[in-house]
Point group: C2
Chain length 337, copies 2
Amino acid sequence: MTIKDIARLAGVTHSTVSRSLNDSPLVATETKEKIKKLAAELGYAPNTFARRLVTKKSNTLGVFFLSRAEINFMENFGTQFLDGIATASSNNGYDLLMFTMTRDLSNQKSYIRLCQEKHVEGVIFIGMTSDDPHLAEIAASQIPVCIIDFELKGDNVGFISSDNDQGIRLALDHLWQNGHRSIAHLSGPEVSPVAMIREDAYRRYMTAHGLESKIKILRGDFTKDSGYRRTQEMIRQGNLPTAVLSANDYMALGAVKALKEQGYKIPSDVSIIGYDNVLAGEYSDPGLTTIGQNPIEMGASAVQYLFDKLKGGAPSPIHLINPNLIIRDSVRPIPIR
Amino acid sequence: MTIKDIARLAGVTHSTVSRSLNDSPLVATETKEKIKKLAAELGYAPNTFARRLVTKKSNTLGVFFLSRAEINFMENFGTQFLDGIATASSNNGYDLLMFTMTRDLSNQKSYIRLCQEKHVEGVIFIGMTSDDPHLAEIAASQIPVCIIDFELKGDNVGFISSDNDQGIRLALDHLWQNGHRSIAHLSGPEVSPVAMIREDAYRRYMTAHGLESKIKILRGDFTKDSGYRRTQEMIRQGNLPTAVLSANDYMALGAVKALKEQGYKIPSDVSIIGYDNVLAGEYSDPGLTTIGQNPIEMGASAVQYLFDKLKGGAPSPIHLINPNLIIRDSVRPIPIR
DNA sequence: CACTGACATACACACGTGTGCAATAAGAGT
DNA sequence: ACTCTTATTGCACACGTGTGTATGTCAGTG
């Protein structure tokens, strides 16, 4: 079933059919309608390969994702990112091609080269790591690139992230409104950009609210175990805060474990608030109050950035998505003295 | 950069170039080598659209996935399924097109129709549900289909699943070897095929080991809350088993919570074993011993089924992947009396 | 030397769609 | 009635690749 078949049945040439289906003003309204109706009846669908061959437009986006590494992160958000991306590109009539980034980067074809070969118009990366050897090439890419949760500067590269600054404010506002004034921060490693952004936001909030003297940083590495140990150390030193704001949920769960082991009750003795809205926090005891990112929206925004670029626009290279506060049972109001 | 350019530079026609690059025996070995070398130097890559147009082969697989629903399940395995699928198809020189299945199935184009339009050669479904209105059409599909974790009969449809029977045996063997004889089963809802398979495997194991009188089924619905409540009821009735085998991890965590609340210690008083190897089980207290599926391998197997079909073979329509036992801290050996 | 056959390359067409340009027809204006 | 304009359709080519067939070449054989 091609436009030639339709042409024969309609008694016109395939050119007229082509123009009709593409709503060209060059063809009479009545024949246009007639042909459209005929095409619909016959269930005609254009051959995308032929069309792409001649138009030189692929109407295809690509998405690279790394699933094996940073598995904690990816397992929780991966499919939601992909959901947002797939839905948004489908809504715009674009196909989505999927690739994996493997850990052994030795004899591997460059991502950008692969995109060119597949005629991908724009590409999204999920789970990019700073040790990837193709970073420079990506930064210089001719085709629009959008990276989720990893900042890279380049003329055609965009960056989508959750608004960490706002997330921390949301969390601290919640603690503040519940009467907490002595709040420690269980932070991530200094090499992690995200950890530093969150820690900085914490420092500024505390200072702005006259709590500079209460600033206390516990340096973890995002694992549950590090949260557990830093909290043990804090308990040993005495002088517990009334609340702990953790830079991610896993460390928060570690903190809960350490405190429980020493007989403290959560949240009556110490309130805990996490970050990321990981499933384990929903199923933990008590349910962990936390900051949720909006991965579906992040994926959709990444696609939007690419389309803006493709339309010739100059979208902001960095786009922050609003997080939201998820209240469960690990924060308790305390009377203000 | 097309084969015509190469032809001009090599002083031959594009036909010769085409044949050379496709290793046709019709062209002299030396010219073949010369042209291949030239193509490599020029970084030539064939235009897939032109090729597909003439060969009528797309070299493309499709994957549909449902991400918003059954979110507990998908969040944990989704990206790993996709990883296995993407890697396997890429290794075979196939592209992978991604689609989402939305929950509102009203005015939606049929999956199979979509596949035909996109010229997909084979398609994989993840997260299929029994209320999907397109099931009949999928069952009758002309193009090979493989569904993960959902059984559907049809000439061209395959079914990939974890071997639930073996998984239950693995779990019960572990309990048996640790001296447990009184083992209750926290099962899923009767409408769930997976739940029934696991429950049946439990019954057979118990019977085969002379423990028929110890068979005890707690009927949950796969949520943590149902595990919590069924366990509470069991505690109230007295006569606790020494171990509980749960049909999934979330119910197991609910059971843990109920037991802990009543002052029982896990695993010293009651051993618990889950199923699925969900992240929350890794981060719970105590770490949950469980049965892990191998989602990456499952994804790869789905692709393999499609390729076997495409090659004209008759692969088994049902393929079970071996699960594995993941030992953490929720099972304890008890002395045999 | 002529003929045969094998081998290598060129020619020409096809795949399905889009589009510039020519051709035709119809209508308007004088 | 003739010309000029405008509206509509057809013609022909292009996109890049694959392939059946014809053409050419060269060596071997009688």
